[in-house]
């Protein structure tokens, strides 16, 4: 029986092991050294590694990112933590004008290994300023790696890969996954960027899912199996780089594609996946691809509306049936 951890425990273990593996690693963010510990993800770190390496930061998110960059140039491997991605937006200048192009403008002679953890809220009335998942914005930038882990295993492996990799990385962590349990190897390990993984094999239809859409897709696939529809579920794991080749390989087999991206539909990563597949193998498709995304609307607070806002298993099933219907 392999050891299991929750998603937040897996992040916590990755940070603990990274701090242990190298003196260069520091963890910076508001309240990372307080007991709630960013939903448990930074628990015990300050006690073990001290306030120099694990420290609180003023309410200056913009400066926090620049500080991470400057510290990285001086040999550190900073991990910056945001309770909500919405606050991280103060630092768009630091990310887009400095961090993403730092290596480029130095002709490859200077690295900025900064890891930014951004938690995205979902449910319990988070509303429009606590729930934005802007992984697509950041994936648009050259020079930045963006991960959207869907399992405790990947939350740990992608975080470690980010910390000890050479490029700046943004890890988008959906809060709704934090209590999810899964098998997590005890030793430190890496999950590489740009490599999707098949979570469920199937012959009839491919669902390429991102982040918190993955468990929904699996559950819907299990339902669809009762209707004799055999769904393959791909977890994209990272959106920059994006493993289009992995999706193509699956669609070559199934001939049908649904993309599930937990962000607004307009100009999202889902659009990019559909384009990438259609550009290469449009003639192999047996049905038009479909996208499952969030409505083109800010997130409503009321629980009644949240239910409409976030895709359900039912909606997945309807889309699965639509793609399988011979009308298209």
């Amino acid at each position: 029986m392999m050891r299991e951890l929750t998603f937040s425990e897996a992040i916590n273990e990755a940070l603990y092991q990274a701090l242990e593996l190298s003196d260069q690693v520091i963890v910076i963010g508001q309240l990372v050294n307080f007991k709630p510990a960013v939903f448990g993800t930074t628990s015990g770190l300050v006690q073990k590694f001290g306030p120099k390496r694990v420290h609180d930061f003023p309410v200056s998110e913009s400066l926090m990112t620049s500080t991470g960059l400057g510290a990285a140039l001086a040999g550190m491997r900073p991990v910056l933590v945001h309770h909500r991605m919405d606050f991280m937006l103060y630092s768009l200048d630091a990310i887009a004008n400095w961090l993403s192009l730092w290596r480029f403008k130095a002709n490859g002679q200077s690295s900025a290994p900064v890891t930014i953890r951004a938690v995205v809220g979902k449910g319990w009335g988070q509303g429009p300023q606590h729930s934005k998942s802007l992984h697509g914005w950041f994936a648009h930038l050259p020079g930045i790696r963006v991960a959207v882990p869907a399992t405790p295993h990947d939350a740990k492996g992608l975080l470690l890969e980010s910390i000890f990799g050479e490029d700046p990385c943004i890890i988008v962590e959906n809060r709704s996954l934090f209590s999810m349990k899964g098998v997590v190897p005890e030793n430190p390990y890496r999950v590489p960027f740009g490599r999707s993984v098949v979570r469920r094999t199937g012959r009839d239809l491919t669902i390429a899912a991102i982040g918190m859409m993955v468990p929904l897709a699996i559950r819907a696939a299990n339902e669809a199996a009762m209707e004799s529809i055999d769904v393959e579920v791909l977890d994209m794991r990272t959106v920059a780089p994006l493993d289009i080749a992995g999706v193509i390989a699956s669609v070559e087999k199934t001939g049908r594609l649904i993309v599930a991206d937990p962000s607004w539909q307009r100009v999202n990563v889902g659009s990019e996946i559909v384009s990438g597949v259609v550009e290469k193998i449009a003639l192999r498709l047996r049905a038009s691809p479909l996208r499952i995304s969030l409505p083109q609307s800010h997130a409503p607070m009321s629980a009644a509306l949240e239910e409409q806002y976030y895709p359900s298993e039912k909606r997945f099933l309807e889309n699965i049936r639509a793609v399988m219907s011979p009308k298209i």
Binding site: S66, F104, P142, L177
Partner: protein, 367 residues
């Protein structure tokens, strides 16, 4: 003191050498002269053939601060600056050949022709610049924090203009530098104008140092065209930072003779009075130092002639080097690291890819 009251005074004529060594005084003078002649040579080259094809913000009139800084920095210190970068590039003793080849967009440039004048860097000597305001002031905070965590005696220095203080992140940086007592030295070259806009139309007062002081950062304001005074002020700030006594903000009252950008004058815009420009040309940092060196019998005609001849020779060779260098051919690979050696060394790849069915049933939420 503020810029206005300072500018109302008659031009300072006397520099107090404070018993500084002759060689050091000549080095300060030479740095200013070299920077001036580099800028003048680049202005001559600007619209010639396939020479410089990038925005250049010339530093004529503002030579004193980069010159004063240069002897005080060690290789392991970090220097960040704004888009008016050439003086600081030379402060860090980065190679002139690489500066000019970079402006010419050649593969031999400091950044292989990818950055140009306003974003040039020389990572091997820990020099970085950038065009977007306040990058220097804010990124330097992180390097200073790293030096403090490591317990090293390195300092981070950032050079910028007064307009940088109009960005919110500037005050975030000042606040944090004060809280943490970072080994950080800020050099604010207050040249009054943000492009064409006067400081007093953008800020209620032109005494930035007084505002910065309230954040717990040490400050000092001084005439920015006296290279010796600038040297002594920066020296004290750097030494205090090295000793762990906290961040220091220096405000230098100076003036740019050049246009905001490019080799031609931008005075046709009508943003400054020609009398104002003449006023500041009378306060040339190089002429001021020259007269004082001559009066003190530390500089003779022959020494100066030789100095200028060497500088011009070096510049001419650097331009020739740039002209004869090849253009770069590739840029895509520069966006991301080709490999991740540390991750490869420390971490095995996970062999575990399974997703247990019941994980899919994990309850989502509550938030």
């Amino acid at each position: 003191m503020n810029h206005q009251t300072f500018s109302a005074q008659p031009p300072p004529t006397r520099i107090d050498f404070c018993k500084l060594d002759r060689l050091l005084l000549l080095e300060l003078y030479r740095h200013m002269m070299r920077l001036r002649r580099v800028e003048e040579a680049l202005i001559r080259e600007y619209r010639v053939g396939e020479g410089i094809r990038c925005p250049v913000h010339f530093a004529i009139g503002q030579e004193a601060v980069p010159a004063a800084l240069s002897p005080l920095l060690k290789l392991e210190d970090y220097l960040f600056c704004h888009h008016r970068s050439h003086g600081y590039f030379l402060s860090k003793r980065a190679p002139l050949n690489q500066l000019i080849a970079e402006l010419f967009g050649r593969a031999t440039g400091a950044n292989g022709g990818l950055a140009g004048s306003q974003e040039i860097s020389c990572p091997s000597v820990n020099f970085h610049s950038g065009a977007v305001l306040t990058g220097a002031a804010s990124i330097a905070v992180g390097s200073a924090l790293a030096f403090q965590l490591k317990g090293s005696s390195q300092v981070a220095v950032a050079g910028f203009g007064e307009a940088a203080s109009e960005e919110g992140i500037f005050w975030e940086a000042i606040n944090y530098a004060g809280v943490k007592k970072l080994p950080l030295v800020y050099l604010c070259e207050n040249n009054i104008y943000s492009m064409y806009s006067h400081q007093l139309s953008r800020q209620a007062s032109d005494n930035l140092h007084e505002r910065v002081k309230t954040f717990g950062v040490q400050t000092h304001a001084l005439y920015g065209n006296d290279v010796v005074a600038a040297y002594l002020a920066i020296k004290e700030a750097v030494e205090r930072a090295r000793r762990g006594e906290g961040a220091f903000f220096l405000e230098f009252y100076t003036y740019r003779w050049s246009a905001h950008v490019g080799p031609e004058s931008d005075d046709h815009v009508g943003y400054r009075d020609s009398k104002e420009l003449d006023f500041w040309k009378e306060r040339c940092p190089i002429q001021l130092m020259k007269r004082n060196l001559e009066n003190a019998k530390l500089l003779d005609v022959e020494t100066e002639r030789k100095m200028i001849s060497e500088i011009d020779q070096e510049i001419s060779e650097a331009i020739q080097f740039a002209r004869s260098s090849a253009y770069p051919t590739e840029f895509l690979s520069k966006n991301s690291a080709p490999s991740n050696p540390l991750a490869e060394k420390l971490l095995p790849l996970s062999e575990f890819e399974k997703f247990d069915a019941y994980q899919a049933d994990a309850v989502l939420g509550p938030y």
